[in-house]
């Protein structure tokens, strides 16, 4: 099954770009970057390629070429975008995992236990009825802007979507003869859920996971735009762009470079998602 997946062009493109981004994230300190939060008001708003100076915490200043220019604080955009890869990817992946985990537990429960179904799905309708952006803003305002808050804030509106997907999968799979055979063999419910039903949900969940990851990276940028995202000393593509948007016309490099990284990554994750869905489970798209 795996070889069939990797023969798909979209999967190959998507996966290789993401691998590159992960590499960039890991190798951030060795890619000619400086501490992203260091700034020197003197070297403010430098255009890409210019040379300026950065003062370290110890107070000594050092020459530095700003490959992607500097922002209104005088911070090096190149370093911030590279370090931003770490946080943006982390936000994307963590949100996807959290949404999947919670969604699986609720989805399995709602799909298999009839009495739980009614209440849980009404609750999920309730959560889904509230626009995702608003939940995110309220939650981030609730607990202060840290990575954990932002991930939870973006994950919560996604949970009902995963729950619905898992529930619909469980309702179809439990009618499959091999599940009925397992019941006839006296297999306890727990083993049926996690032994038979869940393994067969892996394909659609993988696909949904990629879409959630792409969506999470985007929402983080929007939260930063609205001023409720991660604080600037934790660089993400979103908040670099949000801060740089003020001088978009005069200094577009603030938005251009993080925008490229963001678009390429989200595009890669989406293409990977499309590729996975086409190879693993063409029927799944209807349920998304």
């Amino acid at each position: 099954m795996l070889d069939r997946v990797f023969r798909n062009l979209s999967v190959r493109i998507g996966a290789s770009v993401i691998a590159l981004m992960v590499l960039v994230a890991i190798a951030a300190p060795w890619l000619g970057t400086v501490d992203p939060s260091l700034f020197d008001a003197g070297s403010r708003d430098l255009l890409p390629g210019k040379v300026g100076e950065i003062t370290t915490l110890e107070g000594e200043t050092l020459k530095h070429t700003f490959l992607m220019g500097s922002d209104s604080f005088g911070r090096d955009i190149y370093s911030r975008v590279i370090y931003g890869t770490r946080v943006s990817l982390a936000v994307g992946i963590a949100t996807a995992l959290l949404a999947l985990a919670a969604g699986i537990v609720c989805g399995l429960g709602a799909g298999y236990l009839r009495w739980l179904d009614g209440i849980l799905m009404r609750f999920m309708d309730g959560v889904m009825a509230i626009p995702a952006i608003l939940i995110a803003i309220a939650l981030v305002a609730l607990w202060r802007g840290s990575i954990v808050t932002v991930v939870v804030a973006i994950a919560i509106p996604e949970i009902p979507r995963v729950t619905r997907l898992v529930r619909s999968l469980v309702l179809t799979i439990r009618e499959e003869p091999y599940v009925e055979a397992a019941i006839a063999l006296g297999t306890p419910t727990r083993k049926i859920l996690f032994g038979h039903i869940l393994p067969n949900c892996v394909a659609p969940l993988l696909v949904q996971g990629t879409f959630t990851c792409a969506f999470a990276i985007l929402v983080e940028a929007i939260l930063s735009f609205l001023g409720v995202g991660l604080p600037p000393d934790i660089p993400t593509w979103g908040n670099i762009m949000a801060e740089g948007r003020a001088q978009f016309v005069s200094y577009p490099h603030n938005v251009f470079f993080p925008g490229i990284f963001l678009a390429v990554t989200v595009l890669a994750v989406n293409i990977l998602g499309d590729g996975l869905r086409d190879t693993l489970d063409p029927k799944m798209a209807k349920r998304v």
């Binding site: 009404r122 009825a129 609205l226 678009a263 798209a285």
Partner: protein, 313 residues
Amino acid sequence: MFSFVARRILATVPVLLIVAVLVFLLLRLTPGDPAAIMAGDAASTEQIARIRAGLGLDRPIVVQFGIWFGNLLQGDLGESFYYKAKVTALIGQRLEPTLSLAALTISIAVLLAVPLGVIAAWRFGGWLDRALMAFSVLGFSVPVFVLAYILIWLVSLQLGWLPVQGYQRLADGAGPWLYHLALPSITLSVLYIALIARVTRASVMDALGEDYIRTARAKGLPELRVLVRHGLANAAVPIVTVIGIGVALLIGGVVVTESVYAIPGLGRLTVDAVLARDFPTVQGLILFFSFVYVLVNLLVDLSYVFLDPRIRY
């Protein structure tokens, strides 16, 4: 049919109830105190305490919920702390811009996305499919405010065709109304084209795999007839569902586009209310969105009856 509609409306009551309680608690737990915000910079702590008492925020949460819920039952969403106006009036003022933007955006998106999706499904796996899908996925990959700035810079500033911001009421003439909404709806529709095209492609691809397509081709029908009357017609249900989701999203969640284009819509109102901890307005708005979401779902479900004769209520 009637029993179905009645049942669905009754089913919305628990959902709205859950939403009401959820939002009420969520807001009360949020740090930030509306009284302090409104009192302004130089107010003393005593003055803030007096204002909070005036707003009834010093009473226990359960009592506050009781009062608010009591008024709700009489259809009164209460009065905004911040704007000294009835929440229902605030929503009323902002309804037209939001609905206009939503209607224009969703029509552009559907007019472009559905044909895109059908062609991509028809040429599944081919270069055309890959190209169309990559373009539509691009809509997903760029944050809407970046796209908005680029479009404003290009279309409004350089070419000067369309205005940069602002909203013109329909009552003041359809011309200026459309003139101001053109750019925002184009910016916004890019995201929804991606959303709808992807589902269209998948469901049409499914339909093209069914036996009745083989029958249609065996009847010697022209390919376009097979694609539309047999393929697309059978793929309508999931497409209408995703359009429904789009509409619900457009009503509640387009705060970014509203901010950049200065359209006084519900999205911006909600974000300002959340940031200003204007509890009654946020609660009223979110209840409104939930009701719209449930209503849109109901309309979508009812539309299934016309799309698929097998579905009866």
